[in-house]
């Protein structure tokens, strides 16, 4: 039998931190898990321990927290962060306030009217470079996120890959236009990556882009992105967030009547949403009592 050598120790020490999930792994799996558990499961899956209690009945998706983070200012601006990994050209990421592993004490409650940021929103970090490198048209295989977003259309995948001109690049254009090839990536791997992130990524681009536009003071653009999302992903994983952002967009345009319509629709469709409180406290009902 071979003895354990110092080399082995070094190798194991080095490997110990090498199995960590990446940000995109986190975002992707989280979306899939929340989608699986969220609908009607009463999953107490809110992002923070405080919010968890309040939102437990709502089957809250943490993506909501991500969008809220982006939408409500403070630290949560949507950012584009260039990454330098082997292959990945660029990563669209929505900043998070606090790392998920460290829920801050006194963290804001997601459903409070004056939210700032949801502390444990996993950063939505969706690599576009690697996906864009996937030339092969994705096959529709049983997808981990298929329940989250039933419309896993090819166009969505293309949008995700940045190959389609159609959906506007909502967040600052990145160097992803010519992604370096992922050399030697086995087809199965690429397909798996595409099918598991493409839909959510496309959705995040649209809704995240809308949030960014709101931040940039361009509610009209935000609305067009939200409309685009509604057309492409009517019942997508981010439908709730989309509809909440719509209220904010109308408010920003000082179109209180439209905001009110959108808010009514939101509260009708997502009565138990953790975003409902935010909608209720929006301009839509500013001069009136809550519905």
């Amino acid at each position: 039998m071979t003895d354990w050598t110092p080399d082995d120790t070094r190798l194991v020490d080095l490997a110990r931190d090498g199995h960590e999930p990446s940000e995109s792994d986190r975002a992707r799996v989280r979306a899939a898990v929340w989608a699986k558990l969220g609908a009607g499961a009463g999953a107490g899956v809110a992002g923070t321990s405080v919010a968890a209690a309040k939102a437990s009945a709502a089957g809250m998706k943490v993506i909501a927290a991500i969008v809220v983070t982006g939408a409500l200012g403070g630290a949560g601006a949507a950012t584009v962060r260039a990454m330098r990994p082997a292959g990945a050209g660029a990563t669209v990421s929505i900043a998070r306030a606090t790392p998920p592993s460290a829920p801050a004490a006194g963290s804001p409650v997601v459903v409070a009217p004056s939210q700032t940021a949801a502390p444990s929103a996993a950063g939505a970090s969706l690599p576009t470079g690697a996906l864009a490198a996937a030339k092969e048209p994705p096959r529709t295989v049983a997808s981990p996120v298929s329940r989250a977003a039933p419309i896993a259309s090819e166009s969505a995948v293309q949008a995700a890959a940045g190959a389609a001109p159609a959906p506007p690049a909502p967040i600052a254009p990145s160097s992803a236009t010519t992604p370096p090839p992922v050399t030697g990536a086995p087809d199965a791997v690429v397909r798996a990556a595409v099918r598991s992130t493409s839909t959510l990524e496309a959705e995040t681009r649209l809704v995240g882009g809308a949030v960014a536009a709101l931040h940039a003071g361009d509610p009209a653009r935000a609305l067009s992105l939200l409309d685009e999302h509604a057309r492409t992903f009517a019942t997508g994983a981010l439908a709730e967030e989309r509809d909440a952002e719509r209220v904010a967009a109308w408010c920003d345009m000082h179109r209180d009547e439209r905001a009110r319509e959108s808010a009514d629709a939101f509260l009708r469709d997502h009565a138990r949403s953790p975003l409902a409180a935010r909608v209720r406290s929006s301009c839509a009902y500013a001069s009136k009592t809550n519905p």
Partner: protein, 199 residues
């Protein structure tokens, strides 16, 4: 056995300790232990394309069973038991042969990690080391592999591992001894063949 005896409960999981008391919500557990579950799924030999599915399945089970978690073991060992079962079931399913299933390659393919090794050279090296370790772990059987992963990589104590795997502590020790021998042998073979150098 340098790995034993330290970093008992929380190990490398920041904040996990806070979760241990009271009744953790599903969200708490998810936040605190997602990395652990992910790592464990990979280290136990889940093929890269299946890691997502396995981790999801683990948390679906966690969600279902959390209310019945009795706190007799630590959450971490309880979770590892679930990961182990899901990984096993997944492997059986793969063997049963979906024609479509990714070949039951046990080790993570280096090329699958393209979005992971971001930036710093050190990270790349770590990821490389992790991939190599995954590969070497292939030479261990399931039982020894699990012990090795928990002891050497998670740095859990022997009693904890015994709890996680539901085996006597002595069994843990003997499996670990064999696992280290087999791992070292595989590493030696690998070095001889590929002249792999640690940095």
């Amino acid at each position: 056995m340098a790995a034993f005896g330290t970093a008992a409960e929380s190990g490398s999981i920041a904040g996990a300790g806070e979760v241990a008391d009271a009744r953790p919500t599903f969200a708490d557990v998810y936040e605190a232990y997602f990395p652990f579950v992910w790592r464990s799924a990979r280290r136990l030999g889940t093929p890269a394309p299946s890691v997502d599915d396995v981790v999801q399945e683990v948390f679906v089970v966690v969600h279902r069973r959390l209310a019945r978690f009795e706190g007799r073991s630590s959450l971490k060992t309880w979770l590892f038991g679930i990961v182990l079962n899901v990984v096993r079931a997944h492997r059986r399913a793969l063997r049963a042969g979906h024609p479509d299933a990714p070949a039951a390659r046990g080790h993570a393919d280096p090329d699958t990690l393209s979005d992971r090794a971001a930036g710093p050279h050190e990270c790349v090296t770590r990821a490389e080391a992790a991939r190599l370790v995954d590969r070497l772990l292939e030479s261990l059987d399931e039982d020894k592999r699990a012990v090795f992963v928990l002891a050497e990589l998670e740095q859990m104590s022997a009693p904890e591992i015994a709890a996680a795997l539901v085996v006597p502590v002595n069994t843990v020790y003997s499996r670990l001894r064999l696992a280290r021998q087999e791992f070292a042998a595989a590493a030696a073979r690998y070095r001889a063949r590929d002249e792999w150098r640690t940095r």
